[in-house]
């Protein structure tokens, strides 16, 4: 019998331990057939399809995509990055909600967050710069779609949904702008709210509804907080679902040019 070297014996032991774990009942119950985490995954067209089909998260994608669409230079991944930034903002936002009260204590809460809470400053920075980045990336995504003529039939309606999503992104960013309750926040929102006051016919009402009064107060803060953490995310998720669904139904990615 041939004697194995130490390295080969270690490798053999590692493979057999890995196989018995990956082929065990636990892993088989968690991962559906075709998953690379299951024992016996081989790189075959069938398994490549299963990876996408048998996973609820990857299911957003079709099993196959047009070859030109996976070139990085075609989309720059801007739509996907917009969605990803939304997820990052949701996670950091939920974390920030633990330390924030939308009252006259808001400013103190932000100060405390920055000075006394572990990673408080980092997470707040991520939320703020991430929000600016999301506005930018959504805008760039729209520009990419325009320059590729990707809004043309049959994708006209998805462009309309996209413009609504851009609007909702701006509203989310704008409502979040007030929450630190510092001089920058209150006056930026005052300027923005005064613009809404110039709306023909219903200007005064629009401004009153936005400010919950005649000017930015803690009532405005509460209003913007509820819009920012609950109402607008709720609406935007619905529109995102329609947007992604229509991307698939309208024949996947547009092009090639």
């Amino acid at each position: 019998m041939q004697k194995l070297s130490l390295r080969d014996r270690i490798k053999e032991a590692r493979v057999s331990a890995g196989d018995s774990f990956r082929g065990g009942k636990l892993m088989s119950s968690i991962f559906r057939p075709g998953s690379p985490f299951r024992k016996g995954y081989v790189d075959s067209p069938r398994n490549r399809s299963y990876v996408v089909m048998n996973n609820v998260l990857y299911h957003l994608h079709p099993v196959k995509v047009k070859r030109h669409g996976v070139r990085l230079s075609y989309t720059l991944c801007l739509g996907g990055l917009s969605f990803f930034l939304f997820i990052v903002l949701t996670i950091t936002g939920i974390w920030l909600m633990f330390y924030f009260r939308p009252t006259e204590l808001a400013y103190v809460d932000i100060q405390t967050l920055q000075t006394s809470i572990a990673f408080g400053s980092l997470v707040r920075n991520m939320h703020r710069w991430g929000a600016h980045l999301m506005v930018l990336v959504v805008f760039l995504h729209m520009s990419r779609v325009f320059y590729h003529g990707a809004y043309k039939a049959p994708r006209e309606f998805n462009w309309v949904i996209g413009v609504i999503l851009l609007l909702l992104t701006l509203l989310l960013s704008f409502t979040g702008y007030l929450l630190p309750w510092d001089q920058l926040a209150i006056w930026a929102v005052t300027v923005g709210g005064n613009m809404a006051g110039y709306t023909p016919v219903i200007g005064a009402q629009a401004k009153f509804g936005l400010f919950a009064g005649l000017e930015a107060t803690t009532a405005t803060l509460l209003r913007f907080y509820v819009l920012h953490v609950l109402f607008l995310p709720f609406i935007i998720v619905i529109f995102m679902a329609v947007h992604f669904w229509r991307v698939r139904k309208d024949g996947g990615i547009s092009g090639p040019l």
Partner: protein, 283 residues
């Protein structure tokens, strides 16, 4: 014996009576086995056969007994089918063969008038119009680059957040108005427009009418189906103008406007935009 419902029996008896030219009662009796069935003796007058070539119809069978007699003989007609009849498929197959007169015995005794109504070409009832598209598997060709992009974005965001501090000024005070008071950067282009024109036009009509209505309806306005930039120069130009205009206005609003919304140079007078507090420092 199977019990046939009376109304069905009646109906089929009527049909049979009509076909054979007998009375309904008689047909009914025949069907019930009460009388002998009427024998059908007469041949159908018109017979439509679409594969049989026409020549046989023109010449009765006995005529073939005399080999190749005259111009009416069907034998040459095997090569040249009779006019008004389009038969391409094996025309000689059933044509009387002059070399084998025995076969004539099998020709029908009845005079058959036949004509070809139409030739239906065999084709699928559903036409497939989709062209094969060059596709690749999402896993791994799309998901791996996507994953890399997400990781890069996360790294960039954490890096940015580590080196740049988000601004936090003094506590909000409605009694102290900063000069200038600036909106968030994505509204600064609008704020800049507001300084030129009447707020009704610049603050509402442009963003609402141009920004929303026209923007949303754009696919319905631009009916040009081409997607290549060289074939839609006006649309490309339109968007690029919009992009450049919005960019210039926003940059002016962010960097070049100071107290009283007066023109300032960032490298001389500093930056009057608090969101950039920690970004750029001028001494």
């Amino acid at each position: 014996m199977v019990n046939i419902p009376e109304h069905l029996l009646q109906r089929s008896a009527e049909a049979r009576a009509k076909a054979l030219g007998i009375s309904v009662e008689q047909a009914l009796a025949e069907m019930k086995g009460e009388s002998d069935p009427t024998v059908i003796s007469k041949e159908p007058e018109v017979k439509i056969i679409d594969e049989t070539p026409a020549p046989a119809a023109e010449t009765p069978a006995p005529a073939a007994e005399t080999p190749a007699p005259a111009a009416e003989t069907p034998a040459p007609a095997a090569e040249t089918p009779a006019p008004a009849v389009k038969v391409e498929e094996k025309p000689a197959a059933k044509a009387p063969d002059t070399d084998a007169p025995d076969e004539v015995d099998f020709a029908p005794e009845v005079k058959v008038t036949q004509r070809l109504l139409t030739v239906v070409k065999a084709k699928p009832i559903q036409k497939s119009v989709s062209e094969p598209v060059d596709k690749v598997n999402t896993w791994p060709h799309l998901m791996l680059p996507e994953f890399v992009a997400l990781m890069a974005m996360t790294a960039f965001l954490i890096f940015l957040s580590a080196i740049l501090q988000a601004p936090l000024l003094e506590e909000a005070n409605p009694n102290v108005t900063p000069n200038p008071a600036k909106a968030p950067w994505y509204f600064l282009g609008l704020q800049e427009l507001l300084s030129y024109w009447d707020p009704q036009i610049a603050g509402v009509m442009i963003p609402l009418v141009l920004g929303l209505v026209v923007w949303m309806a754009f696919p319905y306005i631009d009916r040009n189906p081409e997607t290549h930039p060289s074939k839609r120069k006006f649309a490309i130009m339109f968007y690029t103008f919009f992009l450049a205009g919005a960019g210039v206005l926003t940059i002016i609003g962010v960097l070049f406007r100071g107290p009283g919304w007066n023109w300032t140079y960032p490298w001389i007078d500093g930056i009057w935009f608090d969101d950039l507090l920690d970004w750029i420092h001028f001494e």
